[in-house]
C-alpha cells in the first residue's frame, strides 16, 4: 500500500485512514460533515498526493496529447490548465484528467484509481512519438487548499503572489531549491489552490499551513470523505460513479470537454453516438426526506426502471438528500418527478439542474 509523504502528519492529527485506490489516505480527522462545512465557511487542506502526476517533455507532446484527450488543447499557453477526458476507440471514458502546459513540459494529473491504466494507455497509443513521459507521482506530493477563505490564507501564508493567478491557471518555479506548481483549481466547488511540491518538501510546508498544531490556524485538515460530499454538491463527476468505461463523455453530461471538431481517440464513435441521439444522461436528483440514495439504487418513473443512482448524500450545505443518476433521456428534464427504490420502498424525487451548490461570488 502506498503512503503519502504526509502520512506521519495524518497519523499525528488523529486521522481515520482508509485504503483508497492502493493508497493509505485520510478519510476524516474531526468528522466528515464538520470538515465539509468548514470548507464552505472557512478553508481546508486536503492531501491529494494519491492522484497520478505525469510529466511530458519532448517535441511531439502537444500532438500526442491532442490525440489522447477529448478536449482541444490547441493554443494553450504556458500557465494554462484544461480539464479533459481520455477515451477508448468506442468512446468509453478511461479517465478524466487535468492537462497543464508549462514552459518546457506538460503535466497531466489523473485519478489514482486509473493511474496505471492511463500510463499504459498513453505509452501504447503514442509509440513512435518523440517525448519522454516521467511518472512523478511518488517523487512529488499534492495538497489542495480549498474554501471561502482559501485565497486570503494562501496569500498570507505562501511566499508567492497567488491572488493574481486566474482560475484554471498556474504558476511554477523554484523556491529554496524546491520546484513548486500552484494551480488555481480544485474539486470542492470553492475557490482555492492545488499545490505540487517535491515529496521531501511537503512535510515542511503542510504542518506550517495548519499552524503546527497550535489550534490557532485558520486552515484545518479535511479528508477524502468531505472531498466527496463537497464535489457532489458542486455537481462534479467522480470516476467510478458518474464516469466509467461503459459511458462516453456526452452521456456522462460532460460534452463541454469534448471537441468533436478535432481528431482524437474515440471521436468517431462519439460523433456517431451524438448523431444517433443519446439514450441516457447524468442528472441531479433532489429526494424527499433524509435518506441517502447510494450508487446502484434504481430510479423509477411509475413501474418503469429508467436509470440508476451514481452518487448520493445528505447535503450538509443544503440540508437535503441529493444524488446524481444516469437516467434515460426522456425522463431527464429538470422538474421530472421520479422515485428512488430503497430496497423495495420508493422515495419520491425530482430532477434538478446541476450543480446543487454554487459558490457565492
Amino acid at each position: 500500500m502506498n503512503q503519502s509523504p504526509l502520512h506521519n502528519m495524518h497519523v499525528r492529527l488523529g486521522a481515520k485512514m482508509v485504503d483508497f485506490a492502493g493508497w493509505y489516505m485520510p478519510m476524516m480527522y474531526r468528522g466528515i460533515i464538520e470538515e465539509h462545512n468548514y470548507t464552505r465557511n472557512a478553508v481546508s487542506l486536503f492531501d491529494v498526493s494519491h492522484m497520478g502526476r505525469l510529466r511530458f517533455v519532448g517535441d511531439d507532446v502537444e500532438a500526442c496529447l491532442q490525440r489522447i484527450c477529448t478536449r482541444n488543447l490547441a493554443g494553450m499557453q504556458a500557465g494554462q490548465c484544461r480539464y479533459s477526458h481520455i477515451c477508448r476507440e468506442d468512446g468509453g471514458i478511461l479517465d478524466d484528467v487535468i492537462v497543464s502546459r508549462d514552459q518546457d513540459h506538460w503535466l497531466m494529473v489523473c485519478n489514482a484509481s486509473n493511474h496505471a491504466k492511463i500510463v499504459d494507455w498513453v505509452r501504447k497509443q503514442t509509440t513512435g512519438c518523440k517525448f519522454e513521459l516521467t511518472d512523478t507521482t511518488m517523487s512529488t506530493a499534492m495538497i489542495a487548499i480549498q474554501g471561502a477563505q482559501a485565497l486570503d490564507e494562501c496569500d498570507r501564508l505562501l511566499p508567492f503572489e497567488v491572488k493574481s493567478i486566474k482560475r484554471y491557471r498556474f504558476i511554477s518555479g523554484s523556491y529554496l531549491t524546491f520546484n513548486y506548481v500552484i494551480f488555481r483549481s480544485g474539486y470542492t466547488g470553492e475557490d482555492g489552490f492545488e499545490i505540487v511540491l517535491p515529496a521531501k518538501a511537503i512535510p515542511l510546508l503542510a504542518p506550517k499551513l495548519l499552524g503546527d498544531g497550535s489550534g490557532e490556524a485558520i486552515i484545518k485538515p479535511a479528508g477524502l470523505g468531505a472531498r466527496d460530499t463537497l464535489r457532489l454538491e458542486a455537481g462534479m463527476p467522480l470516476y467510478g460513479h458518474e464516469l466509467s468505461e461503459q459511458w462516453d463523455p456526452l452521456t456522462a453530461g460532460q460534452s463541454w470537454c469534448v471537441d468533436l471538431g478535432k481528431d482524437f481517440i474515440g471521436a468517431q464513435a462519439i460523433r456517431k453516438l451524438e448523431a444517433q441521439g443519446l439514450k441516457s444522461t447524468i442528472v441531479g436528483l433532489e429526494l424527499e426526506g433524509r435518506r441517502t440514495a447510494r450508487q446502484g439504487y434504481e430510479v423509477f418513473a411509475g413501474d418503469r426502471a429508467v436509470g440508476k443512482v451514481t452518487s448520493g448524500c445528505l447535503s450538509p450545505t443544503l440540508g437535503k438528500s441529493i444524488a446524481m443518476a444516469m437516467i434515460e433521456r426522456e425522463w431527464s428534464d429538470p422538474g421530472q418527478a421520479l422515485e428512488v427504490d430503497f430496497n423495495g420502498r420508493r422515495t419520491p424525487c425530482r430532477v434538478v439542474k446541476l450543480p446543487f451548490y454554487k459558490q457565492k461570488k
Binding site: K16, M27, G31, G225, T229, R290, R291, T292
Partner: protein, 127 residues
Amino acid sequence: MNIPDDRKYSETHEWYLVDGDVVTMGITQFAADELTDITYVELPDADQEIEAGQPCGELESVKATSDLLCSVGGTVIGRNDELADQPELINEDALGAGWMLKIRVADLSPLEKLLDAAAYEKHIAED
C-alpha cells in the same frame, strides 16, 4: 474509548443494558465512530416483534448504509424518536442519548452469549 461494564456487547457492535425483562439497546461508540456521521436511522415501530439476530432497522451515515442488528428477540416497547431529527446524537453519545430501542424479552438467555466490557474491548482491539 468509553466501554462501561454495566452492560453487554455483541461482536457486531451493539450494546445491551438489562433492567428486569426490559433490554435497552444501541450501537457502541466504536461503531458510531466507524460509521462516521450518522444521517438517518430507521427503527421498528413500538409493539413490533423483532427476532434475535435479524436486522430490525437501518443506519445511514455519510459513508454507507448498514443494517441495524439486534441480538435479542422480543417486543419493542420504546424507541428513541429523537433520532429521527437528530441522528447525530448517536455520534455524540452512543451509549446514552443515542440509545435506540427498549425491548421486552421473554428469554434473556441470548444475552449470556454476549461479551462483557473487557471482552468487547479486546474484540475491537483485534478488529
